[in-house]
Symmetry: C2
Subunit: 304 residues, 2 copies
């Protein structure tokens, strides 16, 4: 049994190739990534899906970490893998890790961002420290009963690094570089919190998840309109009421509804969310004062 500071997961979705490639290269060149003195455990989240070139085999691994599913007897590939990851690397596992960083990519033109699940103080401290270093936007995912069971929730602290745009199944140097940069910033913040030197910004800008929108659909469930060309790649930018939102095949337009005005869309046209019937998600931009208990929680976690 060896304990580690950080679990670094790539390939939780098997067709998101860039972070997995980075981990492979890091394995071959142990000094490739600056870990800021932390001990890191590298793992491919879903190696079977990676080998198959698909997001998952039986079910989305990153929606499979609900406590009841982990405790149940479901035998889907991803449920078994979720249990294995928690047993091997969870805080009470054989090789326990304190923090989990889960590396993802998106087809949406979101650039690099952090995804935080809920409002755990240590997560917010980590996100705040990284936002101070790199200015990355933070997508706060909470209160969505249709989307639960994320990997990092099973560790006492953890977040997702999300980089795009990149098609599924494409290796792109830019995405590898951006992933490494965000990963190294996370590791620096975690390392500094251990030594009590963790710096926080005065405030944290979060994009708080409100709800998601689907495309309009016909009687067979097929989309009868698509996102409007003017919306593609406009993640993080406020929607204007009455601006074009969808385009029907005949060129007619469906406008942004009034109740979405000034909300910030994210995950615009993410390939993997079509099956979840999410064309984009709507967020509210909020500026939160950074609280002293956030960094205290991260420091305590990294103690000893």
């Amino acid at each position: 049994m060896t304990s580690f500071d950080v679990l670094v997961v790539a390939g939780t979705h098997g067709n998101e190739l860039n972070a997995s490639w980075l981990l492979d290269q890091w394995e071959r060149q142990p000094d490739l990534v600056d870990t800021a003195g932390l001990s890191c455990r590298r793992v491919i989240g879903n190696p079977q899906a990676r080998a198959a070139g698909t997001r998952y085999l039986d079910r989305d691994l990153n929606r499979s970490f609900q406590p009841d599913l982990l405790a149940g007897d479901g035998q889907e590939v991803e449920l078994r893998r979720a249990r294995e990851l928690v047993q091997d690397h969870g805080p009470a596992g054989f090789n326990p890790c304190r923090v989990a960083l889960d590396l993802h990519s998106t087809t949406a033109g979101m650039g690099s961002s952090l995804v935080v699940y809920g409002r755990r103080p240590a997560d917010l401290a980590l996100a705040g420290g990284v936002q101070r270093l790199l200015g990355l936007p933070v997508y706060l995912h909470e209160s969505d009963a249709a989307q639960t069971g994320f990997l990092v929730e099973r560790w006492p602290c953890g977040l997702v690094i999300e980089v795009g745009p990149v098609p599924q199944a494409v290796l792109d140097s830019r995405v590898v570089i951006q992933t490494q940069l965000a990963l190294e910033a996370c590791l620096q913040v975690i390392s500094e919190s251990r030594s009590g030197l963790g710096l926080q910004p005065k405030s944290l800008v979060v994009h708080r998840h409100l709800r998601s929108l689907d495309l309009p659909r016909d009687e067979h469930g097929q989309p009868s309109a698509l996102l409007h060309p003017l919306r593609q790649g406009t993640d993080w930018r406020p929607l204007q009421g009455g601006a074009p939102l969808m385009r029907r095949p005949d060129g007619s337009v469906i406008d942004v509804p009034d109740d979405a005005e000034n909300l910030m869309p994210v995950f615009i046209n993410e390939a993997a969310y079509a099956e979840k019937r999410i064309a984009l998600s709507l967020t509210q931009r909020e500026v939160w004062p950074v609280l002293p208990n956030w960094i205290a929680a991260l420091e305590k976690l990294m103690e000893g």
Copy 2:
């Protein structure tokens, strides 16, 4: 038995969604696409792959139209489908079509282009007419023993409309619009050739396929370097000798080799070509005088 002027194929690759969606909408709104008076037969190339959300099930359908394979007894899903398409819609089929237009998309940043296989006069007339209308680049694919058996080769005239960039499994209004525009231009040129009004440019600019380059690979066959960020999205632009071509994980660079200087890359980082070990293809830009026998061949095909 009904004969048609044009066979319009979408979804030859099941995870290229946009043209299939356009055909579905066209089915619902018969006047959605301006056919210039031609009779069109619409077909989804690989419906099983489309349903599965993958490029293909057993083998690439668009490499399955070699005469020996069609005449053989191979039972892969795509071989059976290739035979069925030729039997149903081939020039000697139950519902014969004169021209085949095969609608594809790519993850490469190539914009809209036409792909022509070999130098059949009627194909060149069609490409010339469309280049005159829309200025689309023409990728002339020939002399590549590793890549054969394309669908349109089994019809007396036919070409591929290729639109990108778009990730696999993503519906994008822009790609739908571009696909429809190029399709309508093809139909206009074919229609005008029937009435003897087919206009041709004085010359046809072709990008003639020379060879393809793969990424460098390690002893396990995995890429040890990726395309350099400066190459991404630079399809159709001449390579400079000594410019960055690949980037290793440590940031070191592999330069453009001298023998690629001034060649034009296409299909840069196309997702589906990774398995074919093609990181990009190299072409030679050539300006050909348009020959009178080209349009004569297309006119003859459309007669009666």
